[in-house]
């Protein structure tokens, strides 16, 4: 049957583009022939803004890149600043930011899974169950640093304030409840025939292509590559905790979902170990000034953010603000292969694949 190709602009305003993302997609009936991602609708020039701000002020900019994972953004930035300025962080501060980062990973993966299932067409139910758990994490963040999303909790050398007393019992309660909630989510989603048949063997990404396209994070691990910077290049104190890295076997949408779900469990384990290992002490070295003034040079410290390898490439000219601040945004790199992944699949798979890549437009456009 001869058909006429249809080209549609999906986005920038569309229920399931997770922000202002646009795709120019060509369909043959229901089948995707071509897809071109078009981005830049949320470009705020963070990198340029960073050149005019002091090192501490930039922490507030990093919050707004991947706004589902502010803590890990802060962490990546602060690690880079510490390497640049040669600051040795205080131990308790590092433990605190590890706890914060792992909590943030749980929150970010919850959002990712929830919206992935929403893209599958579930009427917000799994999303709301997951947001309920995320809400508890946000409340923990509120106790820690007074904000829920835009935390700005970390400072060069550690964190700005120790966690309050009521934080620890709440965290313990969360750690106790969370595995049970995850079982609920698994019951609802993992064996669900509709989800399985919608996601398995759709948008398969093999190892070589994934590595070649600089794809990192859960997406790379779903393709079966054991590359987790927390394990392979331990920053902070990740070498003192032990955790497993869930890997996918096929590299399809279902694996990406499963890897994220199991990473939540591993993150819970890491937090429990941190709680055993954390000791009282200063949270920030006394000698770190409010105005950090590193020597000339550059630094790049990649970390394992929820979306992938996140790093800040900072160049200093000896002043109070960086000469150049480049963000290696995992969301942007993970979009590279979107076109190749969806071609030949149906319209509905396009959104599921986009959801399983888990991009955050704040980070893509910066």
């Amino acid at each position: 049957m001869s058909t006429e190709l249809v080209t549609m602009n999906i986005g920038p305003i569309h229920p399931s583009t997770h922000g202002v993302f646009r795709m120019r997609v060509t369909f043959d009936g229901e089948t995707i022939i071509d897809a071109e991602p078009i981005i830049g609708y949320l470009h705020r020039g963070s990198e340029k803004l960073a050149e005019e701000r002091t090192y501490t002020q930039i922490v507030t900019l990093t919050d707004r890149m991947d706004y589902t994972a502010s803590m890990t953004n802060n962490q990546a930035y602060i690690l880079s600043v510490e390497k640049l300025a040669g600051i040795k962080p205080a131990e308790r501060g590092v433990w605190l930011r590890m706890i914060a980062a792992e909590l943030q990973r749980i929150a970010a993966h919850s959002v990712a899974i929830g919206f992935l299932i929403n893209d599958l067409g579930a009427w917000h139910t799994p999303l709301l169950y997951l947001l309920r758990e995320r809400e508890k994490i946000l409340e923990l963040f509120e106790m820690m640093c007074g904000a829920r999303i835009t935390n700005s909790y970390l400072r060069p050398g550690g964190v700005f304030m120790d966690a309050p007393d009521e934080f620890w019992p709440s965290l313990n309660r969360f750690l106790d409840e969370m595995p049970e909630r995850l079982n609920d989510i698994e019951n609802l989603l993992t064996d669900n025939e509709i989800i399985v048949s919608r996601t398995q063997n759709v948008a398969v990404l093999n190892k070589e292509d994934a590595i070649n396209a600089s794809i990192t994070g859960p997406m790379l691990r779903a393709s079966g590559v054991d590359w987790d910077l927390r394990h392979r290049n331990p920053y902070d104190f990740y070498d003192k905790v032990s955790f497993r890295r869930p890997l996918g076997t096929v590299g399809d949408n279902n694996d990406r979902y499963l890897v994220r779900l199991h990473e939540i469990r591993e993150s819970l384990k890491i937090i429990e170990q941190c709680l055993d290992l954390i000791e009282p002490g200063p949270i920030k070295p006394e000698e770190v000034p409010f105005l950090v003034r590193p020597d000339e040079g550059d630094s790049y410290v990649p970390i394992e953010a929820p979306k992938g390898e996140l790093g800040f490439y900072l160049v200093s000219d000896g002043g109070i603000s960086p000469f150049r601040c480049h963000v290696r945004a995992p969301s942007l790199m993970n979009l590279t292969l979107l076109r190749d992944m969806v071609i030949g699949y149906k319209i509905a798979d396009l959104f599921v694949t986009f959801g399983s890549v888990d991009v955050n437009m704040g980070e893509v456009d910066r």
């Binding site: 701000r53 002091t54 501490t56 002020q57 922490v59 507030t60 900019l61 919050d63 139910t125 169950y129 309920r132 809400e135 409340e139 509120e142 106790m143 820690m144 640093c145 007074g146 904000a147 835009t150 700005s152 700005f160 304030m161 309050p164 609920d184 019951n187 609802l188 989603l189 993992t190 064996d191 669900n192 025939e193 509709i194 989800i195 399985v196 409010f290």
Partner: protein, 223 residues
């Protein structure tokens, strides 16, 4: 067997149907008699006597009581709390603000140069329409004069209404957040409790009454 996963899913949602809800009816919720008594902390007789209308409403389950989500003490609220007596007009806050939204105009004080009275403040405007509540200004304040507030209801129809002028800062009820104020946290201060208002500037600072030596130490030797 095909369908087991679907049945498991149906069972999970059914379990949650009878589970607790996690949202609250901000800003007020409708309660029955028991809820009303619990909220007003009154005996039934007392309640009828003092609030007869509310009593009738509460019988129908329609009595409205305020409902707020739990708020951490460090919550960085939208209203800033400023203690003029502590402020020296050093403009550290304006300098450290990443967005430059704090506007300070001062004139030299006629009084002695000790903490809290080195400059007189003419203008101290905070444009919270552009503020991102990062709290760096509070962190930068050397005399604990500026604090994050604990409220969050400053929605306004005009952009101008989002500028907090100095007069409002002077007269506002001060229930500061404990964000970056460890001394308040050590006192176990809770801004959302009923009698949380701080009336005296001496109650809030890290240095109650610095001596001249201490001031020299801080202003000359440390910097």
């Amino acid at each position: 067997m095909f369908g087991i996963g679907l049945l498991k899913g149906l069972f999970t949602t059914l379990k949650n149907l009878f589970g607790p809800v996690f949202t609250v009816q901000y800003p007020n919720k409708k309660v029955g008699l028991l809820g009303a008594l619990k909220f007003h902390k009154k005996t039934p007789a007392n309640f009828i006597k003092t609030q007869p209308k509310d009593f009738v409403k509460s019988l129908a389950g329609l009595h409205e009581v305020p409902e707020y989500p739990d708020q951490a003490t460090r919550f960085r609220g939208q209203d800033f709390n400023w203690f003029e007596d502590r402020c020296t007009g050093c403009a550290s806050c304006a300098k450290y603000c990443p967005l430059g939204i704090i506007k300070i105009e001062t004139k030299p004080s006629t009084r002695d140069a000790k903490e809290g009275s080195s400059y007189d403040i003419d203008v101290f405007d905070i444009d919270i329409g552009r503020c991102m509540f990062c709290g760096l200004c509070v962190e930068a304040c050397p005399f604990d004069a500026l604090h994050m507030g604990s409220g969050f209801e400053r929605a306004n129809e005009k952009r101008n209404g989002l500028v907090i002028p100095v007069d409002e800062l002077r007269t506002a009820i001060k229930t500061p957040s404990t964000w970056f104020r460890p001394q308040m946290e050590n006192k176990n201060y809770r801004p959302k409790e009923n009698d949380a208002e701080i009336k005296d500037y001496r109650d809030i600072g890290r240095h109650e009454k610095p001596s001249d030596d201490e001031l020299t130490e801080r202003w000359v030797n440390e910097r």
